[in-house]
């Protein structure tokens, strides 16, 4: 029991490690963003609770405030969140204890996001299995509670800050997304997706502002997948076949 209690305390402490601090800044700017787009405080806090993934929250509010349909806004927000699938897939096997039941994993997955994933994987390296769920749950709940506060603070700050300071605070959102993409893309397909998404978006935003996100995302991502993953792999397989054919001669 003391070991589990210790893990719980460590989880709460983990919320204040650099990834957690960055997340708090990001949720603060999300709160300011929501206020600046004339959403209510309840909407900002509620979205943090039900969604807990800043890119999706920003896309949803940004799309809706531009007058997109509910379907288009949800579709765009959903596509930004696909990253949660592989993140969850890689977290669950190291998170679960030997006797952990599936329904519990579904519940635990509700909080997963890139920050929690990063922080948990780092902490799990030298942590016995039975302490991992207490650590994770404590980390998630701490970050959730803290970010309800930062969302609220950001929301009120938007009304109080002078215009230039507010603009600088809102600028943190694109900076945060841009630099995290920059930092977390490892594979060639992901790097190309970042590049193509950026380059395609600029003309598309000017031509079809409402559909720019979806078209740049789907087209840019698909082309990146083709040139970054599918095509090189096929080529490599082709070379191997050629070599195999050459062997008998």
């Amino acid at each position: 029991m003391p070991a589990k209690l210790n893990a719980t305390l460590k989880g709460a402490k983990g919320a204040f490690a650099p990834p957690g601090l960055v997340l708090m800044i990001a949720f603060f700017t999300f709160g300011a963003f929501a206020a600046s787009l004339k959403f209510s405080l309840a909407a900002a806090i509620g979205l943090t609770i039900t969604t807990f993934a800043i890119p999706s929250q920003i896309v949803l509010m940004d799309e809706l405030s531009r007058g997109s349909t509910l379907l288009a806004a949800t579709f765009a927000a959903s596509l930004t969140a696909v990253r949660l699938l592989p993140l969850t897939m890689s977290l669950m096997p190291v998170l679960r204890g030997e006797k952990t039941k599936r329904p519990i994993l579904y519940g635990l997955s509700q909080f997963n996001s890139i920050t929690i994933w990063l922080q948990s994987l780092a902490a799990f390296k030298d942590m016995p299995r039975d302490q991992r769920i207490p650590y994770y749950l404590s980390l998630c709940l701490s970050l959730m509670m803290l970010n309800l506060l930062t969302t609220t603070a950001g929301f009120y700050a938007a009304h109080l800050l002078p215009q230039k300071l507010l603009a600088a605070a809102l600028m943190i959102t694109p900076v945060y997304f841009f630099v995290s993409l920059f930092g977390t893309t490892r594979t060639k397909a992901d790097k190309l997706a970042f590049l193509f998404g950026t380059l395609l978006a600029i003309p598309l935003i000017l031509i079809i502002p409402d559909l720019a996100l979806l078209t740049a995302g789907v087209a840019g991502g698909s082309v990146a997948y083709y040139f970054g993953h599918y095509h090189p792999r096929r080529k490599a397989e082709g070379c191997q076949k050629d070599k195999q054919n050459e062997v008998p001669e």
Partner: protein
């Protein structure tokens, strides 16, 4: 527009755009390889979409961010990336640096 969407609807949309991916992640644990083609494609789309979102916030910003010129937003983005690379890939100095630079330049305009 923002006032016309019922609160409950908004919160539900937030939930259904994220939670199914988390649940699918649990469902596929041990059943599907993370290197599955569909997952690699989906991750590329998701990355491209977030990159496009950044560009829309820069080129077509919400009113309160758009009070400062476009070139300043581009400078802040470039400056953050530069600090990120120079400061050993840490996010905190990159964000802080871009924030301060944006503030100083916008005040001296």
């Amino acid at each position: 527009m923002s006032e016309t969407i019922p609160l409950f609807t908004l919160l539900l949309l937030g939930f259904i755009s994220t939670t199914p991916w988390r649940w699918l992640g649990v469902y596929f644990t041990n059943n599907l390889d993370e290197t599955h083609e569909a997952i690699i494609w989906a991750r590329a789309v998701s990355n491209a979409l977030i990159a496009a979102l950044v560009m829309r916030l820069i080129f077509l910003p919400p009113e309160d961010l758009g009070s400062e010129p476009l070139w300043l937003r581009l400078i802040a983005l470039a400056f953050a990336s530069l600090i990120y690379l120079l400061a050993g890939r840490h996010m905190l100095p990159a964000i802080a640096g871009a924030f301060v630079a944006f503030l100083i330049i916008s005040h001296s305009l």
